[in-house]
C-alpha cells in the first residue's frame, strides 16, 4: 500500500497514523514499534527539511509486509541524498562537544535491520526493512 504525503513537518502525525495502524494490524511487538516509528520520523523529517527547495514537495510512503518483516519505502523527487553516505556522529563526545546533526540517520542505521538507498528516475528511494515479530 502507498500513500502520498506533503513533505512538511505538519504531515508527520498523518504519516505516523498510517504506519502505526498497519503495524498494529500486522501484530508488531510494542518494543519494536517505537524503534520503527523513530526511524520513520527521522527519515520523513529529513525529506521534509532538506529534499525540496520549493514548497509543494511530496513524499510517497509505501508499506509492505513479507513474512515477519516490514518493508517501508519513502520516495521523493528532491535533491539526491544518500543517507548511507552521511558520516556517523561521534556518540562518545561530552555534552559541550556534541553535534546533534546526523543523529537521526545514525539511529535509523543502528536500530533497523536494513537501510537501503536507490536513486531511480530522479527519485530518492529510502527503504527500511525490519523484523516485527
Amino acid at each position: 500500500m502507498e500513500v502520498v504525503f506533503p513533505a512538511t513537518d505538519e504531515a508527520l502525525a498523518d504519516v505516523n497514523a498510517f504506519v502505526e495502524s498497519h503495524l498494529e494490524e500486522a501484530g508488531c511487538k510494542p518494543g519494536t514499534m517505537m524503534k520503527i516509528m523513530v526511524a520513520v520520523e527521522e527519515l520523513f523529517v529529513n525529506v521534509a527539511h532538506y529534499a525540496y527547495n520549493e514548497p509543494g514537495g511530496e513524499v510517497h510512503v509505501s508499506l509492505d509486509f513479507e513474512g515477519d518483516n516490514m518493508i517501508l519505502s519513502m520516495k521523493d523527487t528532491g535533491t539526491p541524498f544518500n543517507p548511507l553516505e552521511k558520516a556517523d556522529p561521534d556518540v562518545g563526545l561530552g555534552a559541550e562537544d556534541r553535534q546533534i546533526g546526523g543523529l537521526g540517520i545514525f539511529m535509523v542505521k543502528k536500530t533497523m535491520d536494513e537501510l537501503k538507498y536507490d536513486y531511480v528516475d530522479g527519485c530518492n528511494i529510502v527503504t527500511i526493512i525490519h523484523k516485527i515479530k
Binding site: E41, L93, A95, R98, I100, L103
Partner: protein, 99 residues
C-alpha cells in the same frame, strides 16, 4: 505533549506526557528557555513520556548544556524504549539518568 511544571525556589520539576518529537520539541525548547533562567536544579520526570526522537534529544542536550553552567539536570523514570534511544546515541553518558 503536555508539559507539567512545578517550581520550588530554584528547583524546577518538569513532567512530560506524550511524545517528544519534531512537532512537539519546539514548544518544550521555548518553554525551557523562559523557565530555567534562574534555576539551579532541573528535574525531568519521564513517567508518562512515551516517545522520543532526535528532535527531542536536541532539546535535552541544549538544556543539559545550560544546566552544566548554572547547576544540575536529572531525568527520572525513563521507560525502556526511551532508554534504548539514550543508549544508542550515547546520551546515557551525557545525561544524569536516575533509575
Amino acid at each position: 505533549m503536555t508539559i507539567n511544571k512545578n517550581q520550588e525556589g530554584s528547583v524546577l520539576h518538569v513532567a512530560l506526557e506524550g511524545r517528544l518529537d519534531t512537532t512537539t520539541a519546539p514548544s518544550l525548547e521555548e518553554d525551557l528557555q523562559n523557565s530555567i533562567k534562574d534555576i539551579t536544579e532541573l528535574d525531568f520526570d519521564f513517567t508518562d513520556l512515551e516517545y522520543i526522537s532526535s528532535a527531542g534529544l536536541r532539546v535535552l542536550l541544549s538544556a543539559q548544556k545550560i544546566m552544566n553552567k548554572q547547576g544540575k539536570m536529572s531525568i527520572r523514570n525513563v521507560n525502556s524504549d526511551i532508554m534504548d534511544v539514550f543508549e544508542i546515541t550515547g546520551f546515557t553518558d551525557i545525561l544524569s539518568i536516575e533509575s
